[in-house]
Amino acid sequence: MQLQYDIEGGNFTKAGFASSEIKKVLKQLNVDAATIKRIVVSSYEAEVNIVAHAYKGAVTVVIDHEKIVMQYQDEGPGIPDIEQAMVAGYSTASPEVREMGFGAGMGLPNIHKNADDLLIESEVNKGTLVTITIYLKQEGGQ
């Protein structure tokens, strides 16, 4: 199954919408609560990163019986040094973004911690593609 949501850069009032929709689908699919939590944390952070750092983007979600793959594609400044961006506490967030309570430099490390697989591809001044894969577990199952 495939889902797609647009993500608006700079619009913090709508940040988290896609993540919430993904969560609702997973609840209907009887995915176990702990797995949903990991997916929600990862998708929320990736979504907020587009809102906070890029101009515009979208997420494409593909779900099958064993895994969920979420691809966050944006048009934006890109990430010059991905390794550095992954370091906990590293952030280039603007003062305005920090004012909103973001910019602790914990988003990408948090995704890394919760995802089974994380792939970041980026081109400076063009955009970034973040691909998150998480394997699904059925509620009450195996």
């Binding site: 919430s20 969560k23 209907q28 009887n30 995915v31 609560a33 019986h65 059925q138 509620e139 199952g141």
Partner: protein, 456 residues
């Protein structure tokens, strides 16, 4: 521990009285009601006993079961467990002392205010919170409708619930203990609770596994209110011995009102009342958009128990009068406040933990389309296909509350697509469905009566 296959519900739907107006179906927060054959019908596993349906029924077809009052006479020692909300409703009319004396006239031998145990409970909850930091924010189990709502709609949050029962159970334990100490035989003690809502009844009547609730019977608050009001007005002079004037602390008096718990817990606490507000908040909590809250007080009714479905007076006035009483208690120079033997009760509380934990809080998701992820994916695919052709009007004429719920009912094989009036029109235009067939479908949903009217 054994689990009940279905929730016990105190709400009853009377088919004779029901006129099939579908008002209840439209307000139910868990989409637990459908209309079939002109009558509302309940999906028991989805209902959380919030009573929203009861509030809107125009013909009183929804009732709340209660125990027969005469049942109190099966016991030699008959204790009335009186919630502050009942006193709050009456206090403008009658003074507390008079209410007590009427209760004695009604046949009770002892009276105990439900909130008597509030401070003890607060301490037990606080230590629970300190021991369960990893499950923050911890959610109070005070309101049984909220506990059930979390089970069916927010299963990922069941671990956040503080598995401790409300003050009622502490008060029950305390009074039972006291009477036994005074020489009463345990089997001769009967505890009767005046409930403000259906949710509390359900919680009392479906105890975990084989265990029995500390309460022996439940009497609806509207019944008690009526009786108290009329009797008190008739009997100018109370003939029976009047018990000591009750003295609760302000904290205990306010416990069942909104902020009653959140105001006295340590750390960052939040109080939310109204089931739709609670649902919206839990949704955000699940989305990880809320952080750093230690404690949540969530109540299904607006103004909490002052707005319970079995209350009889305006909820804002009831709350006001309870706040006034708390203020008076605050200022009272009379230090005759009845102190619970705290250490003893607390120890007992811990030793009876099993009995005092809320109905086994395990997730019982009503949202899943199928147990199995692959099966659920296939069903969701079909729901999405159906949503492409359904009109997005949510008119409810199909007998399901929304287009989405009709689509899910169809996939679960509990409804047919032809129930939708838009689909009927589409099929009629294509010539594959006749007007007569449409009428038959409508009769199946709404009953004969609504479709055999004379139009001049």
């Amino acid at each position: 521990m054994m689990q009940h296959p279905e929730f016990h519900h105190a709400l009853t739907f009377n088919r004779e009285t029901c006129v099939g107006c579908s008002h209840c179906m439209k307000v139910c927060p868990t989409e637990a009601i459908r209309v079939m054959e002109g009558k509302a019908s309940l999906m028991p596993n989805r209902c959380v006993d919030c009573g929203e349906c009861y509030r809107v029924c125009p013909v009183d077809a929804i009732g709340v079961e209660q125990d027969d009052f005469a049942m109190i006479y099966q016991f030699r020692h008959r204790v009335a467990l009186v919630p502050g909300v009942l006193l709050g409703q009456l206090s403008d009319e009658i003074i507390t002392r008079q209410i007590y004396s009427v209760l004695m006239e009604m046949g009770f031998t002892h009276i105990c205010e439900v909130e008597t145990g509030a401070e003890v409970l607060r301490k037990a909850m606080q230590s629970y919170i300190n021991e369960h930091q990893e499950n923050k924010p911890l959610i109070s189990a005070f309101c049984p409708a909220v506990v059930r709502l979390i089970q069916v709609k927010f299963p990922s949050l069941v671990h956040n619930i503080i598995t401790m029962k409300p003050p009622l159970d502490i008060a029950g334990l305390y009074i039972r203990d006291r009477l036994i100490n005074e020489g009463a035989k345990p089997e001769e003690i009967g505890l009767f609770y005046f409930t403000p809502c259906a949710a509390k009844i359900a919680a009392v009547k479906s105890p975990v596994g084989e265990q029995k609730s500390v309460v022996d019977g439940v009497i609806n608050m509207d019944f008690a209110y009526n009786k108290l009001l009329t009797t008190a007005k008739q009997s100018k002079s109370a003939m029976c011995p009047v018990p000591e004037d009750p003295q609760l602390s302000p904290e205990a008096i306010l416990w069942s009102l909104t902020t009653g718990e959140s105001n006295v817990m340590e750390g960052r606490s939040l109080a939310i009342d109204g089931i739709n507000n609670v649902m919206a908040f839990l949704e955000e909590l699940e989305d990880e958009e809320v952080s750093n809250i230690d404690f949540l007080e969530l109540r299904a009714c607006d103004e909490s128990c002052a707005g319970g479905i079995l209350t009889s007076t305006n909820r804002f006035l009831t709350a006001e009068s309870m706040r006034r009483r708390a203020q008076q208690a605050e200022q009272s120079t009379d230090h005759n406040i009845e102190k619970l033997p705290e250490e003893h009760i607390l120890a007992k509380y811990h030793s009876l933990k099993d009995q005092l934990t809320v109905d086994k809080v395990s997730p019982r998701s009503m949202l899943k389309l199928d147990e199995n992820i692959q099966g659920a994916l296939e069903k969701m695919q079909r729901v999405n296909e159906l949503m492409e052709i359904l009109p997005y009007v949510d008119c409810g004429i199909c007998g399901s509350p929304t287009c989405q719920s009709l689509a899910e009912d169809i996939v679960r094989e509990e409804a047919e697509l032809e129930r939708c009036i838009f689909i009927q029109r589409i099929l009629e235009q294509k010539g594959t469905f006749t007007a007569e067939e449409s009428a038959e479908v409508m009769k199946k949903i709404w009953g004969e009566n609504k479709l055999n009217k004379e139009i001049k």
